[in-house]
Subunit: 80 residues, 2 copies
């Protein structure tokens, strides 16, 4: 059993209003020195078999098909 | 400038209907052998100063205060 993680983030050129809302709120909560926040998604996928290149390739295909909107989002895959 | 990542996931005992919906859809899309999916959030935080223990501790406090609902979610912090 392999655990593969897919991290999906908005591309840098895409506005992230959730992240901006967090940045603006932080000083009111007493947190200084945070200049940017980006919010994305993390998927933990359990795949039958070993955590090899085939498992990562399957996760990439799943991410492209279902987990990420590749017009506005990019993703990274790694075993964990 | 340090980049700190906060991963927020539902605790294992909390039902994750989004993850379950993904698992159920995958065979219809031709993806076999995926036994579980959990969906969570990933925050990329840019903090002034070095990526040291103080930056990680600040990110932990931000996560506890604002990013995670610690009743139902757990989080992990790491520099990147």
């Amino acid at each position: 059993m392999a655990r593969v993680v897919v991290d999906v983030m908005l591309k840098p050129e895409i506005l992230d209003p959730q992240g901006q809302a967090i940045v603006r709120k932080l000083p009111q909560l007493g947190f200084e020195g945070v200049t940017a926040v980006r919010q994305g998604k993390r998927f933990e996928i359990e795949v039958d078999g070993p955590a090899d290149e085939a498992a990562l390739e399957k996760a990439r295909k799943i991410a492209e098909t279902l987990l990420a909107n590749t017009v506005i989002e990019s993703f990274e895959v790694h075993a964990e």
